[in-house]
């Protein structure tokens, strides 16, 4: 454990160094490169500093791996083997900075932008990009408003919030019925910002229709320094099921507090959980993570390319998180559009994206089908932590394991 963490750090520093080197490289001899092989500039815009820099860094890593692969495989063939040249940009976890970076990318000649992880930033960046008709692939940004404002340049490959919560509820109902309806009472613990609050209000409206009783909904601040009292309330209410949705830091503290107080429930079912489908969480808190279920963005475990990518990411000393593979997919989605457009004109790329039926991704989705910028083929899946690993348990056609539900009683 100790040694592994240590090499992690040095590897990451190496990676940082390599990134710096790459940056100097692009500044140093672009003329030579450009003379020989044409390049396609793509804006890779993420919040790599500030409050959500972890997710931003993971996102950037995923995008860069895909670009490297595509370039190694001969670049964009329809454009004479043009190499994808990433233009790295930092939104500093702020919408205004994100919008300013869009302008910079636009002027630096980006043919499209991928990013910017957070919904609040995406609202600003997609609108800014729309003014230049600059194609903008939204990697995560789950808020439904990102794609419902009629912006023709905006494409979201992954599912939005409404779709995710709807799927999560449907799957929960199925799971519960299959197990003989062990869960009747539910307690929701959510963070206070857009994603947790949005989720909690939908759950409160929908779950009672399916016969679940919500015994309490607790909204907590970011950051919350202590979960002891929330756990006290969980103990007092004795819900059959806990539905948490929080960011990683709070998820860790909450899970640890649950474990400390030996809380017994029939299950923990999170939605877009900060820790539930995180290899980092599973590795660092195997005991607290065991049997936790999550409805989240997840790769298709049956695809060889997905497993190869996972291997590659882990070799870089990074954890294989949804930010990584969603950005990886978005780069390939764009590359596919560039191949079909055989052009770097923005309207051509947008048309190619809009008519995209791409199915060579590593997600458990069908072929892409964009309706008003949203990929209707996208869906979240259910995962569960089993044997110190994260398995897909739902939908059954993608499942790599059977759900263990209700979870076995714990000793000690």
């Amino acid at each position: 454990m100790m040694r592994r963490t240590k090499t992690n750090v040095t590897r990451r520093q190496l990676l940082a160094g390599a990134a710096a080197g790459a940056a100097i490289g692009t500044l140093g001899f672009p003329a030579v490169l450009r003379a020989q092989v044409p390049s396609v500039k793509v804006g890779i815009l993420h919040p790599v500093t500030g409050a959500i820099s972890y997710s931003g860094t993971q996102s950037r890593a995923g995008a860069l791996i895909a670009i490297e692969e595509i370039n190694a495989a001969g670049g964009i063939k329809a454009l004479g083997g043009a190499k994808i040249e990433p233009l790295l940009a930092d939104a500093q976890s702020r919408p205004d900075v994100g919008a300013a970076e869009i302008e910079k990318l636009n002027e630096a000649g980006a043919v499209a932008v991928i990013g910017p992880y957070a919904s609040a930033i995406a609202i600003a960046t997609t609108a800014a990009a729309a003014k230049h008709n600059l194609p903008h692939l939204v990697d995560v940004g789950v808020a439904d408003q990102v794609v419902t404002r009629g912006l023709t340049n905006t494409f979201r490959f992954a599912p939005g919030l409404a779709k995710t919560v709807e799927t999560a509820i449907n799957n929960l109902v199925k799971l519960n019925e299959a197990a003989g309806k062990p869960v009747k009472t539910v307690m929701i613990i959510h963070e206070e910002s857009a994603f947790g609050s949005g989720m909690a209000s939908t759950l409160n409206a929908e779950l009672p229709k399916h016969g679940f009783e919500i015994v309490e909904t607790i909204k907590h601040a970011n950051p919350t320094r202590d979960f002891s009292n929330i756990v006290l309330r969980v103990q007092a209410r004795k819900p059959d099921l806990i539905i948490p949705s929080n960011y990683y830091n709070e998820y860790v503290l909450f899970a640890r507090a649950l474990r400390q107080q030996r809380v017994q429930t029939k299950g923990i079912y999170s939605i877009l959980g900060g820790g539930a489908s995180s290899y980092k969480f599973v590795k660092e808190f195997p005991d607290a993570a065991a049997y936790v279920m999550d409805c989240n963005h997840w790769f298709d475990p049956r695809k060889a390319q997905a497993l190869a990518l996972k291997d590659k990411v882990e070799k870089q000393g990074l954890f294989f998180t949804y930010e990584v593979f969603l950005n990886y997919c978005n780069v390939y989605l764009l590359a596919d559009a560039l191949e079909r457009a055989a052009s770097t004109k923005r309207e051509d790329i947008i048309a190619a994206l809009a008519s995209s039926t791409w199915d060579k991704h590593i997600m458990p989705y069908g072929p892409t089908k964009f309706v008003n910028g949203q990929n209707e083929g996208a869906q979240p899946v259910n995962t569960q932590v089993l044997d110190n690993d994260i398995k897909v348990i739902f939908p059954l056609e993608f499942a790599s394991a059977n759900a263990v539900f209700p979870v076995p009683e714990r000793k000690g």
């Binding site: 710096a20 820099s53 205004d96 609040a120 609108a127 963070e191 910002s193």
Partner: protein, 319 residues
Amino acid sequence: MTARTAFAVIAFAAALIAPFVVHSDFWMGFLITTLLYAYMGMAWNVLGGYAGQVSFGHAIFFGTGAYTSTILHISFGLNPWLGMVAAAVAAGLVGALIGYLSFRYGLRGSYFALITLAFAEVFRILANSFEFTGGGVGLYVPLKIGWWNLQFPSKTGFYYLALALTCLSLAIGAWLENSRFGASLMAIRENESAAEALGVNAFACKLKAIILSGAMMGVGGTFYAQHYLYIDPTIAYGPGVSVEVLLVPIIGGLGTMLGPLLGSAVLHGAGELARRLMGDVPGLDLVFYGVLLIVMVRFLPEGVIGLLRRRHKPGAAHA
């Protein structure tokens, strides 16, 4: 004086034609941000610089303005231009409330600074908890581009609005430096009891200053909301804006007319320079920015304006 007037006229003319010369939307955006913060820095400067009441929580007014115009726009269809006026009124009222409480109880110095910080937190938590502010989900300004809707189709519109606000703030600065009210504020800053002995009603003056300062910030909040089309409790009331608007005038020159403009230009210029110099390793540009901040304070203790003053009239004391 004539040289100065000539310089001012040239600078103003340059600012007016900038959109026709600058063809980069990025640099237009940079100018807009710089002007907006110059304006909001002056809002802070009215209270913190001229009156000497340093606030750590000016986001209270910024956020109140942003929420006021946005809520009125979404819920009642109020035009954002009118919303901007409503924002100024609402933020001014909040200023009156906080000012009344703090000055009534005689809070000064770091005590006043900390109470503004606490109020900003209270507002942030409340905005997070209520239905009509959208709670933690925040509020999305509906995308309806058009100048009558305060969503300009190009950067030029926002630029001229920001420029107009900055000119207004400069006029307010000039007025403070040449009016009885401004003199009273500066007297309070130097020595409150002495000012009162001379017949200045310190409480009333400080209250007026915080209302003016708050109202100005409120307009800035509406500007932000209309420009970026989304606000949430952290953007509106978080410490980010509070810190930035106090940095601007202190770096430029506390309690001076040109300080906020100079400070905003230098700070945003430094930030951009840092990004271009430091490459793509996350955080390194901000390290550079932080170092630059410390170095500036070390060598320009009077702010950037000290540099100009030193050249013009050596030995001129900071007011």
